[in-house]
Amino acid sequence: MSTYQPQYRKVNVATSELEMRDAPKARPAQPKRSWAWLGVVPFFLFTFLFLLYPSSTIVTRSFRELGKGAFTIDNIITLFKTPYILNSYWISIKISLITAIGGALFGFLLAYAAIRGGLPTFVRVSLLTFCGVASNFAGVPLAFAFIALLSPAGMLINWIKLTGYNPYFHGFTLYTMTGLSLVYMYFQFPLMVLIIAPAIDGLRREWMEASQNLGANSAQYWRYVAFPILLPSLLGTTILLFGNAFGAIATAQALTGGSINLVTILIGSELSGDVLGNQGVGYALALGMVVIMALAITGYTVLQRRTERWLR
């Protein structure tokens, strides 16, 4: 399997020689290399018209001075000079990493358990459909659901209080980074489940059986067969989870108000707050987010190419 590609080329040459001698060509002529690009033109055209061009204001307006419209790099400089802005990037990245990795881990476990865990079919179907709904249950309703559950007056806390123990008097609180991460998982787990499910489906049973036949135990199967196959998809989905958390705003704002310093909240305050903000800084902040995501994506692409190499 790992040498599939070169073999293919050799076969190609052999059959074409045969073809010239015997049967007429069964395959249509290969299109010229440069024409293949036409196939992706609709996509590029669509994204240019409806994504790239409208979003390019991120770049142009980052360099605009407040009120005067003149070109300036002051906004970008402000990003680097202001400690709480740098801190906000760090916190956003931190919480996105934590929820991406945590979400990927447990999400993968959930997906695998439902698909390959030997459970009845209804579990798989219900999980997938539920995850479809839960993956976008975010913002104020989600924050409120956790508040209704875990606030000092919340349902679960009330149940625990019946035993005489009040978690809030012993240091537990929902309103921290940990609490927020816990809430974020509500849309991270489902996202992971949904996207990794086809990849898990692609893990054919025969390979598990074949590796068992060759004497491998479960751990070895995972380490040498399943995990390497899944790694590109796992990485890709983790990046997706990272981006998902990185761009989240409503949930954090509803749950922890102004306590947690996230870039998205800062952007909101500059662009759409109730008291005069600096649009240029807001767009510059957004530009910073784009740069960070670009770096993350580049890192992921490099990793992905390496892990995919043996799959070709």
Partner: protein, 259 residues
Amino acid sequence: MKSRGKVFAWFVIILGMLYFFLPLIATFVYSLHAKLGHLSFQAYTNVFHDPKFIRGFTGSLIWATLTIIFGILLFVPTAFWVRLKVPKARTAIEFITLIPFVVPVIVFTFGLVRTYSHPPLLIVDSPFLLVAAYTVISMPYMYRAIDIGLRAIDVRTLTEAAQSLGAGWGTILFRIIIPNIRVAILNGAFLSFAIVVGELVLARYLVKPAFAPYMMDLIQNRAYEPAALAIISFALTWACMGIISFIGRGGQAQVGGGH
């Protein structure tokens, strides 16, 4: 070993279920308190009698369906073509599909409004613009789901087998590739559906009936109805997922080599 795996599987599922359902149960219990003194479904009645709710939810349903269809029509051929013929474009395309993540929706929305509210591109009022915008927003998920689905099947062999039997591109796409990545498309469809129903900013600024703006407006002013609405929307969306799942039923056929 199989039974130990099964126990572990059940453990994971039950843990997941607890995590997902407890907050919902807490919301539901709270929503029953709309009447002073005793539990009732008053909050639910209030929501169902609100014409804005019906308008908002059906609006979002329509947008979601259109977005899914359009996404399939645009992304499946593109992802397929990239895998098959133009692998060099992959980096660029993956980068583009992840851009919607990082552009704050409000920036994107203002950009859209500014661009398309002047002739000759005066389509700011057209429903197509909203569908296009929703497609863009769900692109990271939809495209990635489709890509992972394509990755799990051997596209090249399938295509060549089909071509050697005389199939044209349309047949290949719609009768071979799409059925084989059915699960992936379904999952992408789930995600797109949820995103569109939960999306707030675009619907607001492009002034089209949608569910999330209605929910937000309710949260600002009412105490119990938002909780009832959250439960209702959860249940209704789950039902819609069930319908989508039913429409796309039939497991992913293992045709052609995997890797």
